[in-house]
Protein backbone atom coordinates (compact mmCIF):
# COMPACT_ATOMS: atom_id res chain seq x y z
CA UNK A 1 0.00 0.00 0.00
CA UNK A 2 2.73 2.40 1.02
CA UNK A 3 4.74 1.54 -2.06
CA UNK A 4 1.88 2.35 -4.32
CA UNK A 5 1.44 5.69 -2.61
CA UNK A 6 5.10 6.55 -3.23
CA UNK A 7 4.84 5.74 -6.90
CA UNK A 8 1.85 8.01 -7.22
CA UNK A 9 3.44 10.92 -5.42
CA UNK A 10 6.67 10.66 -7.33
CA UNK A 11 4.83 10.19 -10.55
CA UNK A 12 3.02 13.46 -10.00
CA UNK A 13 6.08 15.34 -8.91
CA UNK A 14 8.04 14.10 -11.87
CA UNK A 15 5.23 14.99 -14.23
CA UNK A 16 5.85 18.66 -13.56
CA UNK A 17 9.53 18.45 -14.46
CA UNK A 18 8.71 16.34 -17.49
CA UNK A 19 7.17 19.24 -19.40
CA UNK A 20 10.05 21.54 -18.51
CA UNK A 21 12.64 22.66 -21.06
CA UNK A 22 15.37 20.90 -19.13
CA UNK A 23 14.10 17.77 -20.71
CA UNK A 24 15.75 18.70 -23.96
CA UNK A 25 18.89 20.09 -22.39
CA UNK A 26 21.13 17.05 -22.38
CA UNK A 27 24.69 16.48 -21.27
CA UNK A 28 25.89 16.58 -24.86
CA UNK A 29 24.92 20.24 -24.99
CA UNK A 30 26.97 20.89 -21.88
CA UNK A 31 29.93 19.03 -23.37
CA UNK A 32 29.64 21.04 -26.56
CA UNK A 33 29.46 24.28 -24.64
CA UNK A 34 32.55 23.26 -22.70
CA UNK A 35 34.56 22.51 -25.81
CA UNK A 36 33.42 25.81 -27.32
CA UNK A 37 34.78 27.61 -24.25
CA UNK A 38 38.04 25.68 -24.59
CA UNK A 39 38.31 26.63 -28.26
CA UNK A 40 37.78 30.27 -27.30
CA UNK A 41 40.54 30.03 -24.68
CA UNK A 42 42.81 28.28 -27.15
CA UNK A 43 42.88 31.34 -29.37
CA UNK A 44 44.34 33.42 -26.54
CA UNK A 45 47.39 31.28 -25.80
CA UNK A 46 48.87 28.38 -27.77
CA UNK A 47 49.77 25.09 -26.08
CA UNK A 48 53.25 26.53 -25.91
CA UNK A 49 54.22 30.21 -26.08
CA UNK A 50 57.37 31.93 -27.33
CA UNK A 51 60.32 32.68 -25.07
CA UNK A 52 59.65 35.86 -23.11
CA UNK A 53 61.80 37.87 -20.69
CA UNK A 54 61.05 37.33 -16.98
CA UNK A 55 60.00 40.97 -16.82
CA UNK A 56 56.90 40.08 -18.84
CA UNK A 57 55.66 38.32 -15.71
CA UNK A 58 55.83 41.53 -13.72
CA UNK A 59 53.35 43.16 -16.08
CA UNK A 60 50.70 40.72 -14.89
CA UNK A 61 51.10 41.77 -11.27
CA UNK A 62 51.48 45.57 -11.59
CA UNK A 63 48.46 46.18 -9.41
CA UNK A 64 48.94 42.99 -7.44
CA UNK A 65 50.90 41.81 -4.45
CA UNK A 66 54.20 43.65 -3.81
CA UNK A 67 55.67 40.36 -2.53
CA UNK A 68 55.15 38.81 -5.95
CA UNK A 69 56.78 41.78 -7.70
CA UNK A 70 59.78 41.46 -5.37
CA UNK A 71 60.01 37.74 -6.10
CA UNK A 72 59.84 38.34 -9.84
CA UNK A 73 62.88 40.63 -9.47
CA UNK A 74 64.73 37.77 -7.73
CA UNK A 75 63.67 35.39 -10.51
CA UNK A 76 64.93 37.86 -13.09
CA UNK A 77 68.41 37.64 -11.54
CA UNK A 78 68.51 33.85 -11.78
CA UNK A 79 66.56 33.05 -14.91
CA UNK A 80 66.90 34.24 -18.45
CA UNK A 81 63.46 33.63 -19.86
CA UNK A 82 60.03 32.09 -19.44
CA UNK A 83 58.01 30.11 -21.95
CA UNK A 84 54.33 29.92 -21.13
CA UNK A 85 52.05 26.94 -21.53
CA UNK A 86 48.29 26.92 -21.90
CA UNK A 87 46.38 26.56 -18.64
CA UNK A 88 44.26 23.62 -19.74
CA UNK A 89 45.15 21.18 -16.98
CA UNK A 90 47.88 19.61 -19.13
CA UNK A 91 50.43 22.38 -18.54
CA UNK A 92 52.79 20.31 -16.38
CA UNK A 93 53.04 17.51 -18.94
CA UNK A 94 53.23 19.95 -21.83
CA UNK A 95 55.98 21.94 -20.12
CA UNK A 96 57.89 18.76 -19.37
CA UNK A 97 57.51 17.54 -22.96
CA UNK A 98 58.98 20.63 -24.54
CA UNK A 99 61.68 21.14 -21.91
CA UNK A 100 62.88 17.57 -22.19
CA UNK A 101 62.86 17.36 -25.98
CA UNK A 102 64.49 20.79 -26.30
CA UNK A 103 67.23 19.66 -23.91
CA UNK A 104 67.95 16.61 -26.05
CA UNK A 105 67.86 18.70 -29.22
CA UNK A 106 70.40 21.15 -27.80
CA UNK A 107 72.64 18.69 -25.92
CA UNK A 108 72.49 15.78 -28.42
CA UNK A 109 73.00 13.54 -25.41
CA UNK A 110 72.70 10.08 -26.96
CA UNK A 111 73.40 8.36 -23.62
CA UNK A 112 70.36 10.12 -22.14
CA UNK A 113 68.21 9.05 -25.10
CA UNK A 114 69.26 5.43 -24.65
CA UNK A 115 68.67 5.67 -20.91
CA UNK A 116 65.15 7.07 -21.19
CA UNK A 117 64.22 4.54 -23.86
CA UNK A 118 65.08 1.74 -21.44
CA UNK A 119 62.79 3.38 -18.85
CA UNK A 120 60.02 3.75 -21.42
CA UNK A 121 60.16 0.01 -22.05
CA UNK A 122 59.86 -0.58 -18.30
CA UNK A 123 56.73 1.56 -18.26
CA UNK A 124 55.34 -0.42 -21.18
CA UNK A 125 55.92 -3.65 -19.27
CA UNK A 126 54.34 -2.16 -16.15
CA UNK A 127 51.17 -1.26 -18.07
CA UNK A 128 51.00 -4.74 -19.57
CA UNK A 129 51.35 -6.41 -16.21
CA UNK A 130 48.69 -4.07 -14.77
CA UNK A 131 46.33 -5.49 -17.39
CA UNK A 132 46.21 -2.61 -19.91
CA UNK A 133 45.62 -3.80 -23.46
CA UNK A 134 48.47 -2.80 -25.79
CA UNK A 135 46.11 -1.17 -28.24
CA UNK A 136 45.04 1.38 -25.63
CA UNK A 137 48.51 2.89 -25.10
CA UNK A 138 50.89 1.78 -27.88
CA UNK A 139 50.06 4.67 -30.26
CA UNK A 140 50.95 7.20 -27.57
CA UNK A 141 54.24 5.44 -26.82
CA UNK A 142 55.14 5.26 -30.50
CA UNK A 143 54.44 8.95 -31.01
CA UNK A 144 56.68 10.02 -28.14
CA UNK A 145 59.52 7.77 -29.27
CA UNK A 146 59.17 9.27 -32.75
CA UNK A 147 59.61 12.79 -31.28
CA UNK A 148 62.53 11.62 -29.15
CA UNK A 149 64.31 10.12 -32.15
CA UNK A 150 63.42 13.19 -34.19
CA UNK A 151 65.31 15.64 -31.98
CA UNK A 152 68.51 13.60 -32.37
CA UNK A 153 70.18 15.28 -35.33
CA UNK A 154 71.83 13.85 -38.41
CA UNK A 155 69.19 11.30 -39.33
CA UNK A 156 66.53 11.15 -41.97
CA UNK A 157 63.67 12.06 -39.64
CA UNK A 158 65.57 14.73 -37.68
CA UNK A 159 63.67 17.89 -36.82
CA UNK A 160 64.76 21.48 -36.21
CA UNK A 161 64.07 23.56 -33.11
CA UNK A 162 61.43 25.43 -35.05
CA UNK A 163 59.76 22.17 -36.02
CA UNK A 164 59.84 20.99 -32.39
CA UNK A 165 58.03 24.17 -31.31
CA UNK A 166 55.40 23.74 -33.99
CA UNK A 167 54.85 20.06 -33.13
CA UNK A 168 54.41 20.89 -29.48
CA UNK A 169 51.70 23.33 -30.58
CA UNK A 170 50.00 20.80 -32.83
CA UNK A 171 47.28 18.88 -30.95
CA UNK A 172 47.84 15.70 -32.96
CA UNK A 173 51.38 15.49 -31.56
CA UNK A 174 51.14 17.51 -28.36
CA UNK A 175 48.01 15.86 -26.93
CA UNK A 176 49.33 12.40 -27.78
CA UNK A 177 52.59 13.06 -25.98
CA UNK A 178 50.69 14.44 -22.96
CA UNK A 179 48.67 11.22 -22.97
CA UNK A 180 51.88 9.17 -23.18
CA UNK A 181 53.11 10.87 -20.00
CA UNK A 182 49.75 10.26 -18.34
CA UNK A 183 50.03 6.53 -19.04
CA UNK A 184 53.63 6.42 -17.77
CA UNK A 185 52.64 8.34 -14.62
CA UNK A 186 49.64 6.13 -13.96
CA UNK A 187 51.70 2.96 -14.40
CA UNK A 188 54.35 4.19 -11.98
CA UNK A 189 51.80 5.13 -9.31
CA UNK A 190 50.01 1.78 -9.56
CA UNK A 191 53.25 -0.19 -9.70
CA UNK A 192 54.39 1.45 -6.45
CA UNK A 193 50.96 1.83 -4.91
CA UNK A 194 52.23 1.13 -1.39
CA UNK A 195 54.54 4.13 -1.64
CA UNK A 196 51.98 6.48 -3.21
CA UNK A 197 48.89 5.41 -1.25
CA UNK A 198 49.36 7.68 1.80
CA UNK A 199 49.88 10.76 -0.43
CA UNK A 200 46.80 9.92 -2.47
CA UNK A 201 44.69 9.26 0.62
CA UNK A 202 45.71 12.68 1.88
CA UNK A 203 44.61 14.33 -1.35
CA UNK A 204 41.40 12.62 -2.35
CA UNK A 205 40.48 9.80 -0.01
CA UNK A 206 40.19 7.35 -2.90
CA UNK A 207 42.01 4.17 -3.79
CA UNK A 208 45.20 4.35 -5.82
CA UNK A 209 43.49 2.80 -8.83
CA UNK A 210 40.54 5.19 -8.60
CA UNK A 211 42.94 8.14 -8.34
CA UNK A 212 44.75 7.04 -11.50
CA UNK A 213 41.47 6.51 -13.36
CA UNK A 214 40.02 9.87 -12.37
CA UNK A 215 42.97 12.22 -11.77
CA UNK A 216 45.90 10.95 -13.84
CA UNK A 217 44.66 9.30 -17.02
CA UNK A 218 41.93 11.71 -18.19
CA UNK A 219 43.20 14.66 -20.29
CA UNK A 220 42.89 18.03 -18.59
CA UNK A 221 43.29 16.71 -15.05
CA UNK A 222 45.82 18.89 -13.25
CA UNK A 223 49.05 17.50 -11.88
CA UNK A 224 50.24 17.80 -8.33
CA UNK A 225 53.33 16.56 -6.50
CA UNK A 226 52.11 12.94 -6.75
CA UNK A 227 52.06 13.01 -10.55
CA UNK A 228 55.35 14.93 -10.75
CA UNK A 229 57.10 12.49 -8.41
CA UNK A 230 55.78 9.53 -10.36
CA UNK A 231 56.76 10.86 -13.79
CA UNK A 232 60.21 11.89 -12.58
CA UNK A 233 60.76 8.45 -11.02
CA UNK A 234 59.36 6.49 -13.97
CA UNK A 235 61.48 8.22 -16.58
CA UNK A 236 64.43 8.85 -14.26
CA UNK A 237 64.44 12.56 -15.06
CA UNK A 238 64.98 15.13 -12.29
CA UNK A 239 62.66 18.15 -12.34
CA UNK A 240 63.11 21.50 -10.59
CA UNK A 241 59.94 23.36 -9.66
CA UNK A 242 60.29 27.03 -8.70
CA UNK A 243 57.45 28.38 -6.61
CA UNK A 244 56.06 31.84 -7.18
CA UNK A 245 53.43 32.54 -4.57
CA UNK A 246 52.63 35.12 -1.94
CA UNK A 247 54.40 33.43 0.97
CA UNK A 248 57.13 35.57 2.49
CA UNK A 249 60.16 34.73 4.56
CA UNK A 250 60.36 35.09 8.32
CA UNK A 251 63.31 37.43 8.21
CA UNK A 252 61.42 39.89 6.07
CA UNK A 253 63.56 39.30 3.02
CA UNK A 254 62.18 37.82 -0.16
CA UNK A 255 63.50 34.65 -1.70
CA UNK A 256 62.09 32.27 -4.25
CA UNK A 257 61.81 28.67 -3.15
CA UNK A 258 62.32 25.70 -5.35
CA UNK A 259 61.95 21.97 -4.95
CA UNK A 260 63.91 19.38 -6.88
CA UNK A 261 62.12 16.17 -7.72
CA UNK A 262 64.97 13.66 -7.85
CA UNK A 263 64.28 10.16 -9.12
CA UNK A 264 64.65 7.66 -6.30
CA UNK A 265 68.06 6.19 -7.06
CA UNK A 266 67.68 2.97 -5.09
CA UNK A 267 64.66 1.89 -7.04
CA UNK A 268 65.95 3.21 -10.32
CA UNK A 269 69.60 2.52 -11.01
CA UNK A 270 68.88 3.98 -14.41
CA UNK A 271 68.26 7.50 -13.14
CA UNK A 272 70.01 10.19 -15.11
CA UNK A 273 71.60 11.68 -12.00
CA UNK A 274 74.05 9.63 -10.05
CA UNK A 275 75.35 12.48 -7.90
CA UNK A 276 73.02 14.90 -6.20
CA UNK A 277 75.11 17.86 -7.22
CA UNK A 278 73.72 17.53 -10.71
CA UNK A 279 71.18 20.21 -11.40
CA UNK A 280 67.93 19.15 -13.01
CA UNK A 281 67.87 20.27 -16.64
CA UNK A 282 64.13 20.79 -16.51
CA UNK A 283 62.93 23.83 -14.61
CA UNK A 284 59.27 24.71 -14.30
CA UNK A 285 57.76 27.79 -12.72
CA UNK A 286 54.79 27.00 -10.50
CA UNK A 287 52.14 29.54 -9.76
CA UNK A 288 49.15 28.12 -7.87
CA UNK A 289 47.34 25.95 -10.41
CA UNK A 290 49.77 26.42 -13.30
CA UNK A 291 53.22 25.46 -14.65
CA UNK A 292 55.35 27.36 -17.18
CA UNK A 293 58.88 26.66 -18.42
CA UNK A 294 61.86 28.57 -17.02
CA UNK A 295 65.28 29.02 -18.65
CA UNK A 296 68.21 29.39 -16.20
CA UNK A 297 70.90 31.95 -16.96
Amino acid sequence: MQNKQAVLEDGQAAHVTDTHDWDNFVDDDIMQQKSAIHAEEAKKIPFLGDKEPISSLAAEYQSGSPILLEKIKVLDEQYAAIRRTRGDGNCFFRGFMFSYLEHILVSQDQAEVDRIQANIEKSRNALQSLGYADLTFEDFFALFIEQLEGVVQGKEGSISHEELVSRCRDPSVSDYVVMFFRFVTSAEIQKRSVFFEPFIMGLTNTTVEQFCKSSVEPMGEESDHVQITALSDALGVPIRVVYLDRSSCDNGGVSVNHHDFMPTASDLPNASVSAEKNNPFITLLYRPGHYDILYPK
Binding site: D10, D27, L135, T136
Partner: protein, 157 residues
Protein backbone atom coordinates in the same frame (compact mmCIF):
# COMPACT_ATOMS: atom_id res chain seq x y z
CA UNK B 1 41.35 11.52 -38.10
CA UNK B 2 44.02 9.10 -39.28
CA UNK B 3 44.92 8.23 -35.69
CA UNK B 4 41.32 7.60 -34.66
CA UNK B 5 40.75 5.40 -37.70
CA UNK B 6 43.86 3.34 -36.92
CA UNK B 7 42.84 2.96 -33.30
CA UNK B 8 39.28 1.91 -34.23
CA UNK B 9 40.63 -0.61 -36.69
CA UNK B 10 42.72 -2.17 -33.91
CA UNK B 11 39.64 -2.34 -31.71
CA UNK B 12 37.72 -3.90 -34.58
CA UNK B 13 40.32 -6.65 -34.96
CA UNK B 14 40.36 -7.21 -31.21
CA UNK B 15 36.56 -7.53 -31.16
CA UNK B 16 36.71 -10.13 -33.95
CA UNK B 17 39.44 -12.06 -32.16
CA UNK B 18 37.78 -12.03 -28.74
CA UNK B 19 34.24 -12.60 -29.91
CA UNK B 20 33.56 -15.51 -27.59
CA UNK B 21 35.38 -14.03 -24.58
CA UNK B 22 32.49 -11.81 -23.53
CA UNK B 23 29.18 -13.50 -24.41
CA UNK B 24 27.17 -10.64 -22.87
CA UNK B 25 28.41 -8.12 -25.41
CA UNK B 26 28.05 -8.18 -29.16
CA UNK B 27 29.79 -5.17 -30.65
CA UNK B 28 29.32 -4.51 -34.36
CA UNK B 29 30.90 -1.92 -36.60
CA UNK B 30 28.84 -0.27 -39.34
CA UNK B 31 29.69 -1.81 -42.73
CA UNK B 32 30.59 1.48 -44.35
CA UNK B 33 31.58 3.76 -41.47
CA UNK B 34 34.12 2.82 -38.80
CA UNK B 35 32.95 5.77 -36.67
CA UNK B 36 29.50 4.21 -36.19
CA UNK B 37 29.05 1.13 -34.04
CA UNK B 38 26.16 -0.65 -32.39
CA UNK B 39 26.20 -3.09 -29.52
CA UNK B 40 23.78 -5.63 -28.11
CA UNK B 41 24.26 -6.13 -24.40
CA UNK B 42 22.54 -8.61 -22.12
CA UNK B 43 20.81 -7.27 -19.05
CA UNK B 44 22.81 -8.41 -16.02
CA UNK B 45 21.39 -11.28 -13.97
CA UNK B 46 19.64 -10.59 -10.68
CA UNK B 47 18.56 -7.18 -11.93
CA UNK B 48 15.22 -6.08 -13.42
CA UNK B 49 17.01 -6.10 -16.79
CA UNK B 50 17.74 -9.83 -16.70
CA UNK B 51 16.57 -11.62 -19.81
CA UNK B 52 16.52 -8.43 -21.85
CA UNK B 53 18.79 -7.54 -24.74
CA UNK B 54 19.55 -3.84 -25.07
CA UNK B 55 20.84 -2.09 -28.12
CA UNK B 56 23.41 0.72 -27.83
CA UNK B 57 24.43 3.18 -30.53
CA UNK B 58 28.00 4.50 -30.62
CA UNK B 59 29.03 7.63 -32.44
CA UNK B 60 32.80 8.03 -32.36
CA UNK B 61 34.31 11.53 -32.72
CA UNK B 62 37.30 12.23 -34.96
CA UNK B 63 39.39 13.05 -31.88
CA UNK B 64 38.86 9.55 -30.51
CA UNK B 65 40.45 8.16 -28.35
CA UNK B 66 41.35 11.52 -26.81
CA UNK B 67 37.63 12.24 -26.68
CA UNK B 68 34.97 9.74 -25.59
CA UNK B 69 32.49 8.06 -27.91
CA UNK B 70 28.89 9.22 -27.66
CA UNK B 71 26.79 6.30 -26.54
CA UNK B 72 23.06 6.00 -26.04
CA UNK B 73 20.47 3.31 -25.53
CA UNK B 74 18.34 2.62 -28.59
CA UNK B 75 16.23 0.22 -26.54
CA UNK B 76 13.87 1.87 -24.08
CA UNK B 77 15.10 1.36 -20.52
CA UNK B 78 13.86 2.53 -17.11
CA UNK B 79 17.04 3.35 -15.23
CA UNK B 80 17.99 6.40 -13.10
CA UNK B 81 21.07 7.20 -15.20
CA UNK B 82 19.55 6.80 -18.65
CA UNK B 83 17.37 9.48 -20.22
CA UNK B 84 13.96 7.94 -20.78
CA UNK B 85 13.36 9.69 -24.10
CA UNK B 86 16.79 10.10 -25.70
CA UNK B 87 18.57 7.07 -24.22
CA UNK B 88 21.46 9.31 -23.19
CA UNK B 89 23.65 7.79 -20.48
CA UNK B 90 25.02 9.57 -17.42
CA UNK B 91 28.32 7.87 -16.77
CA UNK B 92 31.50 9.65 -15.71
CA UNK B 93 33.78 7.74 -18.08
CA UNK B 94 31.72 9.00 -21.03
CA UNK B 95 32.26 12.57 -19.83
CA UNK B 96 35.04 14.08 -17.75
CA UNK B 97 36.59 10.81 -16.53
CA UNK B 98 37.15 9.50 -20.05
CA UNK B 99 40.63 8.38 -21.02
CA UNK B 100 42.09 6.45 -23.95
CA UNK B 101 42.63 3.54 -21.57
CA UNK B 102 38.97 2.71 -22.28
CA UNK B 103 37.82 0.92 -25.40
CA UNK B 104 34.36 0.54 -26.95
CA UNK B 105 34.30 -2.96 -25.49
CA UNK B 106 35.19 -1.85 -21.96
CA UNK B 107 32.64 0.98 -22.23
CA UNK B 108 30.00 -1.72 -22.83
CA UNK B 109 31.19 -3.50 -19.70
CA UNK B 110 30.95 -0.25 -17.73
CA UNK B 111 27.39 0.28 -18.97
CA UNK B 112 26.41 -3.26 -17.90
CA UNK B 113 27.91 -2.50 -14.48
CA UNK B 114 25.89 0.73 -14.36
CA UNK B 115 22.71 -1.23 -15.12
CA UNK B 116 23.40 -3.41 -12.09
CA UNK B 117 24.48 -0.52 -9.88
CA UNK B 118 22.35 2.55 -10.58
CA UNK B 119 23.41 5.87 -9.06
CA UNK B 120 20.12 7.55 -8.13
CA UNK B 121 21.86 10.67 -6.86
CA UNK B 122 22.78 11.82 -10.36
CA UNK B 123 19.61 10.91 -12.23
CA UNK B 124 18.75 11.56 -15.85
CA UNK B 125 15.46 9.79 -15.25
CA UNK B 126 14.08 11.49 -12.15
CA UNK B 127 11.08 9.16 -11.80
CA UNK B 128 13.37 6.20 -11.62
CA UNK B 129 15.87 7.98 -9.38
CA UNK B 130 13.16 9.15 -6.98
CA UNK B 131 11.81 5.64 -6.53
CA UNK B 132 15.24 4.43 -5.44
CA UNK B 133 15.97 7.49 -3.35
CA UNK B 134 12.72 7.12 -1.47
CA UNK B 135 13.65 3.52 -0.76
CA UNK B 136 10.96 2.03 -2.99
CA UNK B 137 13.14 -0.70 -4.45
CA UNK B 138 10.13 -2.84 -5.27
CA UNK B 139 8.48 -0.02 -7.22
CA UNK B 140 11.70 0.65 -9.13
CA UNK B 141 12.23 -3.01 -9.94
CA UNK B 142 8.69 -3.60 -11.15
CA UNK B 143 8.77 -0.53 -13.41
CA UNK B 144 12.20 -1.48 -14.76
CA UNK B 145 11.12 -5.08 -15.28
CA UNK B 146 7.97 -3.99 -17.08
CA UNK B 147 9.95 -1.89 -19.56
CA UNK B 148 12.47 -4.70 -20.00
CA UNK B 149 9.60 -6.99 -21.01
CA UNK B 150 7.99 -4.41 -23.21
CA UNK B 151 11.07 -3.20 -25.03
CA UNK B 152 14.01 -5.55 -24.54
CA UNK B 153 12.55 -9.02 -24.99
CA UNK B 154 11.42 -10.72 -28.16
CA UNK B 155 7.64 -10.59 -28.58
CA UNK B 156 5.99 -13.91 -27.94
CA UNK B 157 3.74 -15.62 -30.45
Amino acid sequence: MQASRARLFKEYKEVQREKSADPDIQLVCDDSNIFKWTALIKGPSETPFEGGVFQLAFSVPEQYPLQPPQVRFLTKIFHPNVHFKTGEICLDILKNAWSPAWTLQSVCRAIIALMAHPEPDSPLNCDSGNLLRSGDVRGYQSMARMYTRLAAMPKKG
